[in-house]
């Protein structure tokens, strides 16, 4: 297990600008933010590495943390939060974004947002959410000096990056998940996951005009929407279905009329400026397909040149290099083992396998470190 080398982390002089892979170039290309001490975020020159947010396994007393894979050293550093802070990041971190000189991590069960210094990984502030109406963070995106956080209790909260305080909450649909920004709007999938045993999963998404950030406009989408991504001009939505007769489906959502058009049956997706990267792994074990969808032409092609990983947990594409990362659980006795460390498969833009690195337990989200 790699111990973090603090010197190697501290050595990096330049604050890096990182954004969630969920949003790919969406947030960055639309951003005119020059807040604080960051270099021009519109022009990231280079990717330093990739972060993996590990959910942990609360029932087995395994806490969540962050793995950092450094491109130059070709090495993974585990538990970087715990090593820098002498305390746990918390239980079930679910979302993260890097913005300006800081990294923001939403920790779902602990019900906190950790604001972390990007260079030292020291916590700058822990924002407790327990007791608030808007709480239990699930998704994050940053723009114009604000970090937007979808809250499982049915809100999107706006965190001001100067005061490091939540300055506004907007009610959306039930149990929102991973959010994205396109144009002037924040798009929110309302999964309604807590109704799955009663009225069933949700079929709506919300969008909020960021100029006013006051009310949400709801619109119809597929069953169980869980993730919006954008390539900077188009909007895509992953709907997980009901894990039964309605399969997980990816749609293109037209921002002008909010109508959905099906792209295909997939369970994971990421986007860069040219492609959607799609994985269909409905049962985690067999029948995993990895495809690339050309956003301009609508043509599908193979994403990778080998058989991929065992049980995909997340996919992310480096917007500068086109490197593809796919995190995975380890399959044992035919099933994913959720108690042991996972790993990430590394592929170059052509889909060639470039190795893998070990992550923590439950590698549910990746995002990049760029400068």
């Amino acid at each position: 297990m790699n111990q973090i080398s603090k010197s190697s982390i501290m050595k990096r002089k330049f604050p890096v600008f990182i954004f969630s892979a969920l949003l790919a170039l969406g947030a960055a290309s639309c951003s005119d933010d020059n807040n604080g001490d960051t270099p021009d975020p519109d022009m990231p020159e280079n990717t330093l590495g990739v972060y993996v947010l590990n959910n942990g396994n609360m029932g087995k007393k395994i806490e969540g943390d962050i793995t950092y894979y450094d491109y130059t050293e070709r090495k993974a550093f585990q538990n970087i939060f715990q090593n820098a802070n002498g305390r746990s990041l918390g239980n079930s971190p679910q979302c993260a974004v890097v913005y300006g000189s800081k990294m923001y991590v939403g920790v779902y069960e602990s019900n906190t947002i950790e604001v972390i210094d990007r260079n030292t990984y020291k916590s700058i502030k822990q924002i407790p959410l327990a007791g608030r109406d808007a709480s239990m963070p699930r998704g994050m995106v940053a723009r114009d000096g604000k970090v937007y956080v979808s809250m499982y209790s049915g809100y999107v909260s706006r965190l001001d990056t100067l005061s490091l305080a939540i300055d506004k909450d907007v009610k959306v649909g039930p149990n929102p998940e991973k959010i994205a920004i396109l144009g002037n709007y924040l798009y929110v999938p309302n999964s309604d996951g807590m109704s799955c045993n009663t009225t069933g999963y949700g079929k709506t998404a919300s969008r909020i005009n960021l100029d006013t950030f006051s009310t949400a406009e709801n619109f119809e989408v597929g069953l169980n929407p869980t993730k919006f991504v954008t390539d900077g001009s188009s909007l895509f939505l992953l709907c997980m279905g009901n894990y039964g007769d309605v399969p997980a489906t990816v749609y293109r959502v037209d921002p002008s009329d909010l109508k959905s058009t099906e792209i295909g049956k997939f369970t994971l997706m990421a986007a860069d400026s040219n492609y959607l990267y799609l994985i269909n792994a409905p049962y985690g074990v067999d029948r995993i397909s990895y495809q690339k969808y050309n956003i301009a032409t609508g043509a599908f092609s193979d994403m990778i040149s080998d058989e991929g990983v065992e049980s995909p947990a997340d996919i992310a594409v480096d917007p500068r290099t086109g490197n593809i990362f796919i995190t995975s659980y380890v399959i044992e006795n035919g099933y994913a083992n959720y108690a042991i460390d996972g790993y990430a498969g590394i592929y170059d833009a052509s889909g060639a396998n470039k190795g893998r690195f070990t992550t923590g337990v439950g590698p549910v989200l990746m995002f990049f470190s760029m400068r």
Binding site: M58, G59, K60, K61, I62, E63, Q82, N85, G86, R87, S88, G90, N91, V107, E109, S110, N111, T112, Q126, P128, A130, G131, D133, A134, S135, M136, M151, Y152, S153, G154, P174, N175, D192, M194, S195, C196, N197, T198, T199, M240, Y243, T267, A281, P282, Y283, G284, S311, A313, Y329, V330, E332, N333, G334, Y335, A336, N337, Y338, A339, I340, V364
Partner: protein
């Protein structure tokens, strides 16, 4: 009220195992009490048997049901902490669903979860607690009690066993740390051939105990929150001694509990609004009689209703609240017939039928139901120094569901056999060996819980092999009674029911794992009489359990130690009864465990040793008596966990005043 009295009191309660002599029933029915009976049961039993009776509870400074279970060898208690935390019993590496729990001779059941929460049962009215691993040596019993790998029996202090009925009143008040208060009242009145008994207790506790949270290198002092409980239980018993060797016992039981659930400790977030109301009612009839011509019979009828009403408040739920309510019912009848044609042979046939159903307020409820028919054929033979017992249990479980697909049915034959050999007639030394093959059915939760249960589940099967030595002896007047037992065992579990992920969101239950357990249980029970009016009691246990996952060589848990099973555990107690103030001291501990069968270093839970002590005095007030007792629990304030993220209470005190008329 000293050791002798304790020894004189046999295992109370109607399910008491019979003595080794074949005409056990008639002996029991004649209410003959034999000195050292309790001990002789443990020594002569052909399968491991361990008893804690009411007197032991005091001399061993036992303060609660969980504490009592922790003193039994080979047992792993799963304890969620505090008076309100759920507690289940696992024996010798088997899951808690493999331990049957009987209350006054009749099995308790929870078809929903498949295991019994023993925290519901208090020690206030306990006559004896008894753990049988494998087959009970009393063969006149319901087939259902033969259908588990182990049986934990709670026998109340009632006239149904062997003690004389008398008009009496018992009033007790117990108070303790963390806002614990519990009154208990019992009245017993003989009316002709009928003895009536009513008892009830109530417990209120805040359970807001402090604990130390270790967060990497940060240590903080925290308190359990949202942990208040109000629990009550009332019971009516009637025993009708119809004639000599014929008795009919009736019981009506009601339990009601309203608990706030503190949940697991989550870093930085102690907010919890979970509440659980549990209600249960049962009534049972139990007839035991001798029919002449070597025939005896036992008949049982029971009806059980229980409700589990879960409520949570959280913004993530529709409308901000979640209510999950479950109701289950059971109807149960059992009949057994014992035939003892000659003194050295007895044969028993038992047939049980029970019906269980479950419904809930969930939209996805499939309303499962199960018909179960169990039949057992048992033979027991005493051939000189050898006692042999063999049983075949034929089980039929038929499942149906009002909506959706029912779970798989099961029909199985389960054999078991045991032998006990006394090589020298002059010494109470026995060699014993036993084998038992048995399985448990999937619980309704495992089979039907939405997005989780699987109707394709097969039963989880177990095999157990035990080889033991027992020795009961008396050295001199200063050590009139001593028992030592040593048992080694080899168990197998296959088709273990485990939760596996289909993907991140959907988990399901499947028959996947296999494990092999070998272990050793040692017990010593020494009762000294150093001088007149002085008695010193030592009870000690040590257990070693090596539980190896053996599902697949390629998996990372292969041959490590099964999650939550400690390799080492043990306990001892020392009690000194004297004319002044009786003193007892106890210690129990378990070694480290892991929350994962992969034994990942980060998932290690440290072992612990917990110490307790008690002082008590019985003051005679003419016809009545007053007992005062003070206990200190976890006296060195050791911080430990049994279940991950559920810290246990530190040092606490308990004071008891008991008045008996």
């Amino acid at each position: 009220m000293t050791i002798v009295a304790a020894a004189l009191r046999p295992g109370a309660g109607a399910c008491a195992a019979g003595p080794a002599v074949p005409d056990s029933v008639s002996t029991a029915l004649q209410e003959v009490t034999v000195e050292g009976r309790r001990v002789s049961d443990e020594v002569r039993s052909s399968a491991p048997l361990h008893t804690i009776d009411a007197a032991d509870l005091k001399v061993a400074a036992i303060t609660g049901m969980a504490d009592a279970v922790g003193r039994l060898p080979g047992v792993v208690l799963r304890d969620y902490g505090g008076a309100g935390g759920m507690k289940t019993v696992s024996v010798r590496g088997f899951g808690s669903g493999h331990t049957a729990v009987a209350y006054d001779g009749v099995p308790l059941s929870d078809a929903q979860s498949g295991s019994i929460d023993i925290s519901r049962y208090s020690l206030d009215n306990v006559g004896a607690l008894r753990l049988t691993v494998g087959d009970n040596s009393d063969i006149l019993m319901p087939a259902r009690l033969a259908a588990s790998a182990a049986t934990f029996s709670i026998s109340t202090d009632s006239p149904f066993g062997h003690r004389e009925a008398r008009t009496s009143l018992t009033a007790q008040l117990k108070a303790g740390s963390f806002g614990y208060i519990s009154p208990f009242l019992k009245v017993e009145v003989p009316v002709g051939k009928v003895t009536l008994q009513a008892s009830g207790e109530y417990v209120h506790a805040k359970n807001d105990y402090p604990f130390t949270l270790t967060n990497v290198s940060l240590k903080t002092r925290e308190r359990r929150t949202n942990s208040m409980m109000n629990t009550g239980h009332g019971e009516l018993n009637a025993l009708w001694r119809v004639a000599a060797r014929h008795s009919l016992a009736a019981k009506a039981y009601y339990y009601d509990s309203d608990r706030h659930l503190p949940g697991p400790v989550i870093y930085y977030n102690s907010e919890s609004h979970e509440r659980l109301r549990e209600r249960s009612f049962f009534c049972q009839l139990r007839y035991r009689g001798s029919l002449g011509h070597g025939l005896s019979m036992l008949a049982i009828a029971k009806f059980n209703w229980s409700a589990s009403l879960y409520h949570d408040e959280n913004g993530k739920y529709p409308g901000g609240v979640l209510d999950q309510n479950y109701w289950q019912r059971e109807a149960y009848v059992s009949g057994s017939l014992l035939y003892t044609p000659v003194w050295w042979a007895s044969l028993d046939y038992a047939a049980d039928y029970f019906y269980n159903n479950l419904n809930s307020n969930l939209a996805t409820d499939s309303r499962p139901r199960r018909h179960s028919v169990l039949q057992s054929f048992t033979g027991k033979f005493t051939l000189g120094p050898v006692t042999l017992m063999a049983r075949a249990l034929w089980s039929i479980y038929l499942n149906s569901a009002l909506q959706g697909t029912p779970s798989r049915d099961a029909r199985r034959l389960s054999p078991s056999a045991s032998v006990s050999w006394q090589p020298w007639s002059s010494a109470d030394f026995h060699v014993r060996a036993s084998y038992k093959n048995i399985f448990r059915m999937p619980s309704f939760s495992e089979a039907y819980f939405d997005h989780y249960g699987s109707v394709d589940l097969k039963p989880e099967s177990t095999d157990q092999l035990n080889l033991g030595l027992t020795y009961g002896f008396d050295v001199a007047s200063w050590l009139p009674q001593a028992t030592i037992t040593a048992d080694g065992y080899l168990n197998h579990v296959k088709d273990m029911i485990v939760a596996v992920p289909y993907n991140m969101f959907v988990w399901s239950m499947t028959n996947l794992s296999k494990s092999r357990v070998f272990g050793l249980d040692l017990t010593a029970d020494l009762r000294f009489r150093p001088a007149a009016r002085h008695a010193v009691t030592f009870m000690g246990t040590y257990s070693f359990q090596r539980a190896e996952p053996r599902t697949s060589r390629s998996s990372s848990d292969w041959m490590r130690q099964v999650a939550y099973i400690p390799r080492n555990s043990g306990s001892f107690s020392l009690g000194w009864e004297n004319p002044w103030v009786n003193v007892s001291f106890s210690a129990s501990g378990i070694g480290h465990r892991f929350t994962t069968s992969e034994n990942l270093p980060a998932t290690r839970i440290a072992g612990f040793m917990e110490f307790g002590a008690g002082l008590w005095k019985v003051v005679s007030l003419g016809r009545s008596s007053l007992e005062l007792r003070a206990n200190i629990i976890n006296m060195f304030d050791r911080q430990y966990e049994i279940v991950a993220n559920y810290p246990m209470p530190g040092r606490s005190f308990q004071f008891t005043v008991r008045y008996e008329l």
